[in-house]
């Protein structure tokens, strides 16, 4: 459904995309995972025909983003990173507006937005500018869907949104995927990668890796250990100690534990625990763990810079 080949884009001498290639299949939920400035937004803006590429090609459903931009605009739904609805129109007026711009009605495609819109319908006469963050997000998604697009492109819909609303939003995306809509979604939250069929890990205008979350995790070849500490003060000291322990490649705080990687055979649970207890830290648990997408991302980033 989406094809991108060797796509490049620069802003002045700043290279935003350094020759990106990827394909997204019909009905796939595809994630662009990476920090701000990685190039996610630039790629999305080229796909929705708001920005011209410098070189390379991109197409949606066989339509070229440059030559066929008019046709693409009718078949793609786009939710930009910044709230872009009309703040001084009501909830219902915004939806009405987006339906009519595409020559349709709300009733025609109501089935697509029903589950989402029903949650904000009690506030349909409220001005969009007066909605809470979570409600704005639901309205923006409804407006992007009301013309029944084949492809939905969502630029960081969950940024700055609390953990509960984020979860709800991903449930909505999952339902839309079951209706056959192809979805490309970007996010800086690494844990959200697991909710996609496939993801591209973005960094500095390049793709570090592109695969299913499962395969990306399987590509991690180092031994990974989780070190559980009891207090915050202990964490601070243990991170410092572990960094100077020979044979350990990386040391990172990871929520309640500290993750360490190694390729050396002689570094294991017992040796690490022994070292920390020798340095005066008791009650610490060390265990071999499976990596998360975030572990892989950081590993790939470090390889990139080295």
């Amino acid at each position: 459904m989406i094809k991108v080949g060797n796509l490049e884009k620069s802003y002045g001498d700043q290279k935003a995309l350094k020759g990106i290639s990827l394909e997204v299949g019909k009905g796939e939920l595809f994630g662009l995972i990476g920090p701000d400035g990685a190039g996610k937004t630039t790629l999305m803006r080229i796909l929705v025909t708001l920005l011209l590429p410098d070189s390379g090609f991109a197409s949606l459903d066989g339509l070229d983003v440059v030559a066929d931009f008019r046709k693409i605009r009718t078949m793609v739904g786009y939710m930009p990173g910044r709230f872009s609805l009309y703040q001084d129109l009501t909830v219902e007026e915004n939806l009405q507006f987006f339906a009519t711009v595409f020559g349709g009605t709300i009733a025609e495609n109501y089935h697509l937005i029903k589950d989402i819109y029903i949650q904000i319908e009690p506030f349909k006469n409220r001005l969009a500018g007066k909605l809470s963050g979570g409600m704005k997000q639901k309205l923006a998604l409804s407006c992007a869907l009301i013309h029944a697009p084949k492809v939905l492109i969502l630029d960081e819909p969950t940024t700055g949104v609390d953990a509960v609303s984020r979860k709800e939003f991903w449930e909505m995306l999952n339902n839309l995927r079951h209706m056959g809509i192809t979805i490309m979604v970007s996010t800086p939250y690494m844990d959200e990668a697991n909710l996609c069929d496939r993801v591209a890990l973005f960094q500095n205008g390049s793709i570090l890796s592109i695969d299913s979350p499962k395969n990306i995790i399987a590509s991690f070849h180092k031994k990974l250990f989780g070190v559980k500490v009891e207090t915050t003060a202990q964490r601070f000291e243990c991170v410092g100690l572990l960094k100077s322990y020979p044979g350990i490649d990386s040391v990172f705080s990871f929520g309640e534990s500290i993750h360490i990687t190694t390729i050396q055979q002689n570094v294991d649970e017992t040796s690490v625990m022994g070292y920390l207890s020798q340095m005066g830290h008791q009650g610490i648990a060390v265990e071999r763990i499976e990596p998360s997408i975030e572990d892989v991302f950081m590993e790939l980033m470090q390889n990139e810079t080295n």
Partner: protein, 249 residues
């Protein structure tokens, strides 16, 4: 006005703090204390009242009722003194993008009335520490996000505040930079600066000494991450957060 000596080690003391906008109660009887050198996490869903609470703690908004002291100053009558004795870093970083790194230091030092000699000494010291010496004459707008983040944090600390408020300091930053930033936070807390931080990254909640979770204007949970996890029978702070939100429904 004279600063009143605190008996305890708390930098922030809040009792029954309320803020109403018309009939709407945005902050509903908050009571908590934050100790010197503590990293205090302040979490909550969007619209829970976090921003309103922080604006009062920073002296930007007068409370409706309740008691509030920050760094020994009163939240009603000494709001200017509060502003002078705290540091603040927003998620937008609030740097002047069309000034150079060096000019940003100069501007902030000027705003806080830091003497020239001290300003120069401290600027050089920080440029060295942040590895920004070579970029001192570059415009801030062109710096990578991670550098801007470090710079914004240093500027918030430039006038030696007793407490620094970090409002979603790591939104959108890559995972390596996010961790380097937390190393910096630990270091500063270790030197006795109190850190008051909001975040939507639940792994970062684990890095705090204590965490308060706000919902509908109230603090619904306040304890160490370990105690919260054991109380809510969750294996991560994410689990705690989701359970609290569900209980509410």
């Amino acid at each position: 006005m004279k600063q009143i000596k605190e008996d305890t080690g708390s930098i922030i003391r809040v009792r029954d703090l309320v803020k109403k906008f018309g009939d709407f109660v945005a902050v509903d009887h908050l009571t908590f204390e934050v100790n010197k050198g503590e990293i205090f996490g302040f979490l909550g869903a969007n619209g829970a009242g976090k921003t309103t609470a922080i604006r009062m703690l920073c002296g930007l908004l007068e409370p409706t009722s309740g008691a509030l002291r920050v760094a020994g100053f009163d939240g009603y009558h000494q709001r200017e003194e509060i502003k002078r004795n705290i540091g603040y870093m927003s998620q937008k970083f609030s740097l002047y993008e069309d000034l150079t790194v060096y000019e940003n230091f100069r501007l902030y030092a000027g705003i806080y009335g830091i003497p020239r000699k001290e300003r120069i000494r401290k600027t050089e010291e920080l440029l060295l520490k942040l590895k920004l010496e070579e970029s001192r004459d570059k415009l801030v707008g062109g710096l990578p996000l991670g550098w801007k983040q470090k710079l914004a944090f240093s500027l918030a600390l430039f006038h030696n505040p007793a407490v620094v408020f970090l409002d979603e300091p790591s939104g959108g930053v890559d995972p390596l930079t996010r961790r380097t930033f937390w190393d910096l936070i630990y270091e500063v807390a270790h030197q006795g600066v109190t850190i008051f931080v909001t975040t939507h990254y639940m792994d970062e909640a684990e890095y705090c000494n204590r965490v308060a979770i706000m919902s509908e204007g109230k603090i619904v949970a306040l304890d160490t991450p370990a105690a919260l996890k054991s109380f809510y029978k969750a294996d991560s702070m994410d689990g705690v957060f989701l359970k609290i939100a569900r209980n509410k429904e």
